[in-house]
């Protein structure tokens, strides 16, 4: 079991690392651009030689149009079609398939899976879906609703390649996922805004959605200390 978990974690980390590097390079470019634009305006306090953290993390809840909702759900749904056969290679080895799909279509059962899956893996994936939607500007209720739609689509139309849709997964993925996501959201925001490098690393690891370009809650803070009139100001840039 430990071997399997390690294997699964390695796969997930590889995917996250790939996507993280991709988004980090974009972030790096944006940061350099901003630094260049504001290089003459950023001053440290001459007495303490300190300045505020560069970024403040949070969530900006906003309205989404129906078209935007459909598009986002569509992208996530497409990704589940891409990733499911990778996580469940037996789909390629005859265990699943079109016949199995037809047999399972429309069925709803209580699955007999171990608690590792029903109480850990599914809620964990639900929490990351919830955080993904939160990162994209959905408020908590909307993020829960989007998580419910996404996980129901996956459960009813993708996972049936290998097993019928289950009552536990339909309920626990979005509900326990949102509960877990709510906790991760608070913990990661605390860590990301702690100003501590290790805290930031753990914060991003817990909530990888904060690394992606679609994350709308990052605020760029530029402290400015004016020596002449002994005044100070903070300029904030929202990264939409």
């Amino acid at each position: 079991m430990i071997k399997f978990v390690l294997k699964l974690m390695t796969k997930l980390m590889a995917i996250a690392l790939f996507l993280g590097i991709f988004s980090s390079s974009t972030t790096f470019a944006v940061t350099s651009e901003l630094k260049e634009a504001f290089k003459d305006q950023v001053y440290a306090d001459p007495e303490t030689h300190k300045r505020l953290p560069l970024y403040q993390y949070g969530y900006n809840d906003r309205e989404h149009s129906l078209a935007e909702n459909v598009k986002t759900i569509g992208v996530v749904y497409g990704l589940t079609w891409f990733f499911y056969p990778i996580v469940q290679p037996k789909v390629f080895h005859g265990a699943g398939g079109v016949k199995e799909y037809q047999h399972n279509l429309g069925k709803l059962v209580f699955d007999q899976d171990e608690p590792f899956w029903n109480d850990f893996v599914h809620p964990l994936s639900g929490s990351q879906l919830y955080l993904l939607y939160r990162a994209n500007g959905y408020d908590r209720l909307s993020a829960f609703e989007m998580t419910f739609v996404s996980s129901a689509l996956f459960e009813l139309t993708v996972e049936i390649f290998t097993e019928p849709a289950s009552v536990q997964d339909l309920y626990q993925t979005p509900v326990l996922g949102t509960v877990l996501g709510y906790g991760i959201e608070n913990a990661s925001m605390y860590l990301l805004n702690s100003g501590n490098t290790i805290g930031k690393i753990i914060g991003h690891a817990l909530n990888p959605a904060t690394l992606f370009p679609f994350y709308e809650g990052r605020t760029f803070i530029i402290p400015k200390y004016n020596e002449e009139d002994k005044g100070a100001m903070i300029r904030m840039e929202m990264s939409y």
């Binding site: 171990e114 109480d119 209720l141 009552v167 709510y182």
Partner: protein
Amino acid sequence: MKAYFFLITILIQLMGSLTYAQEQAQIHSQNVHAGNPIEDNFNLKTGLSLSRLFQTSALIPTHNRNESHSENTGYGFNTSVGYKWSSWEVLFASDALFGKLHDMTFKVDPQEVRGDGSFRVFTLSPLIRYYTPYSFWNRWNIYASAGPTWSLHTFIIVNNLNNTDFDHKKRISFENRGGSLNLGVEEIVPYKETHPAFFELGYSYMRSHRIFIVDASDFKDVKTLKQGASKDFSGHYFIFRFGITLF
């Protein structure tokens, strides 16, 4: 005698504090009307559960009354998703409970399997909840809820007591139907963003309608070895739940 007077005093105190609190109970709904009704009426709750389960397994046809009983304590967590009007709420609630099993016998054709081990329960209930106009100390609103329950009861026999050929990697699982009735109190607060707490006592009854024997040797791929109709298992449990509204 002293204990009796103490109990009477406590009861009088409680009766005195049981005030008519229609206005307080409706503060929330007033806020709902003032703001976004969908956002404010919706709620997601979570908390911990502690239960006492009474389980009965019929060994040969029930009319002969040859049954095996077991009483166990279960621990777990609860969640619910609901939509609230001023006094009524419609919700989906779920419990996941885990516990140790002590000496119980199951009829698994053609043999009887007796042993110790553990159990786990997953329940799902669509409920209707009514918030009464009464409260304790103007702070805790009394409510009651009821509804049908579907559950999955899974038993893992680790210590086989009658030496039957039943591997500890196998599970005996029952799909049950039943109902539940709950009585509880919820903290009266003007905004749900302040995470109102709740305490609840519930009773559930269930009777099996299907039995499954599954092989969990490979935890990634649990296989169903046998399944069929069964009314051989029944149970009821008292449960104490406490938790908060997340949002």
